[in-house]
């Protein structure tokens, strides 16, 4: 009995498997429903389907951190997550940081500290930092370095970035009472 039931379900899945899957999630506070191919990465879903081009692809293998987003509260490299794995998820991308056209404290501090040059890695750094400060509003230098060690920058160097993160934490504690 159980076997019969199970097998019919498999057939259904196999038949529909290579076709699109309906996916719903919340991106930057907005509900999103789309049909996607199972082999699409979350990164390409965000860029190609939702036209959120802030999240960047560089290595495509989880090594460089340019595609870092926040998935259910955790910083992850979206290039090695399938879009279908994010069914029902809460997602924040770099586009979700500014509010009403005004940069967030975090973004302001990256600007004030010159923590970017070409800017390609910046969305990833911002999202790793955002996830860190959401869990730990007062991190030590070591904790910051550990969390950002999966984000590579090839032009600015890491000192201005570290400085920007520390100033953000300080300002958020003061101004937002974190």
């Amino acid at each position: 009995m159980d076997n019969e039931k199970d097998c019919s379900m498999y057939t259904e899945h196999i038949d529909s498997g290579k076709r699109k899957v309906t996916l719903s999630m919340t991106v930057n506070g907005r509900p999103v429903v789309r049909d996607v191919d199972p082999n699409m990465t979350l990164l390409h879903f965000l860029r190609d389907n939702l036209k959120l081009f802030g999240t960047k692809e560089a290595c495509g293998e989880g090594e460089c951190g340019a595609c870092t987003i926040i998935l259910n509260g955790k910083a992850v490299t979206s290039c090695i997550v399938l879009a279908v794995e994010a069914e029902g998820a809460q997602i924040t991308t770099v586009e979700g940081l500014s509010k009403n056209g005004k940069l967030s404290i975090l973004q302001e501090e990256f600007v004030s500290q010159d923590a970017l040059q070409c800017g390609f890695c910046t969305p990833g750094f911002l999202m790793s930092t955002r996830a860190l400060l959401d869990h730990n509003p007062n991190p030590t230098d070591e904790e910051i370095v550990e969390v950002l060690s999966g984000n590579l920058c090839r032009c600015t160097g890491y000192i201005p970035i570290l400085q920007a993160v520390k100033r953000t934490a300080e300002r958020e504690r003061k101004e937002l009472g974190r």
Partner: protein
């Protein structure tokens, strides 16, 4: 672009096992930090991906006094890094977990995935091996338990048969007074694979256990070397002897991360450093 496949997210283990048994080119997905790379590089040709994160048993992460620690197949590495009970009871596992890849990858990579990927240089197996970890497997013939030291059969090869999945890994309670340490050598301090990783453990009765990776086709427990130390009793002298004898128990190769010669020397140094730290005689 990744080749096309069917995606299946089973709700119970029977569904998962039956699907994996039925479909030849099917692969298990948990964290995806290894699988996605293989797909992207077209190293594997998957027609079916079975996402096991919906199986309730794979979310288990529990410690029971006297029984030990169970880590389900969906439990990510950062859970181990943040766990107070792992820090207190299984320090080598905590240290190995904290040394693995980058922070973002540890938010996705699973402990069981690090075992199933069966890389010779994986960071977690040495630590799991010294705690006599047992792998809980479900398959078409039911469930079975395999000690981790019998789980690896070669480079990227395990005892897993078609249709089988690892549901969890279990570590017995080490009890009070147990000590352990994981030391690794890599080319750089951040995000790099280990050239050598050594887990050393001293049990409350003074007996040692040694696990090592990146010096043989699979991560290994060095039982014969442990016997040599345990028969003589753990001391600075036997640690020195073990450091000289370790080269008889490993077969490192030369690759991009290290030469075989460097691995031999480093294995000796990390073993001695670890054991001496555990007996309070820093090298």
């Amino acid at each position: 672009m990744i080749s096309r496949f069917a995606y299946f997210k089973p709700h119970n283990i029977n569904e998962a096992v039956q699907y994996l048994e039925k479909e030849e080119k099917s692969f298990v997905l948990a964290g995806g930090t290894d699988l996605m790379i293989l797909l992207r590089r077209n190293i594997i040709n998957a027609e079916h991906i079975v996402d096991i994160k919906g199986l309730p048993e794979t979310s288990e992460f529990s410690f029971v006094d006297g029984a030990g620690l169970t880590i389900g197949a969906s439990v990510v590495v950062n859970r181990i890094v943040d766990s107070e009970v792992v820090k207190a009871k299984y320090p080598a596992l905590n240290q190995a977990a904290a040394s693995l890849a980058s922070f973002q990858l540890r938010n996705r990579a699973t402990v069981v995935g690090n075992i199933c990927n069966a890389s010779p240089g994986a960071d977690l197996p040495p630590a799991l091996l010294v705690y006599d970890a047992v792998v809980n497997i479900a398959g078409p013939q039911g469930t079975r338990q395999v000690p981790l030291h019998e789980f690896f059969t070669g480079v990227k090869r395990t005892v897993l048969q078609r249709g089988e999945i690892v549901v969890s890994v279990h570590l017995p309670d080490p009890g009070e007074g147990d000590k352990s340490i994981y030391l690794r050598q890599a080319r750089l301090r951040g995000h790099d694979l280990a050239a050598v990783g050594v887990a050393s453990r001293v049990r409350p009765d003074g007996k040692v256990a040694i696990g090592i990776s990146a010096v043989a086709p699979t991560p290994k427990r060095l039982f014969a070397l442990e016997d040599m130390i345990n028969e003589r009793g753990l001391s600075q002298e036997t640690v020195e002897l073990a450091g000289q004898a370790i080269h008889e128990h490993i077969r490192p190769i030369t690759d991009v991360r290290s030469s075989a010669q460097y691995r031999l020397l480093t294995s000796s140094v990390l073993l001695k450093r670890g054991l001496l730290a555990l007996i309070g005689k820093e090298a």
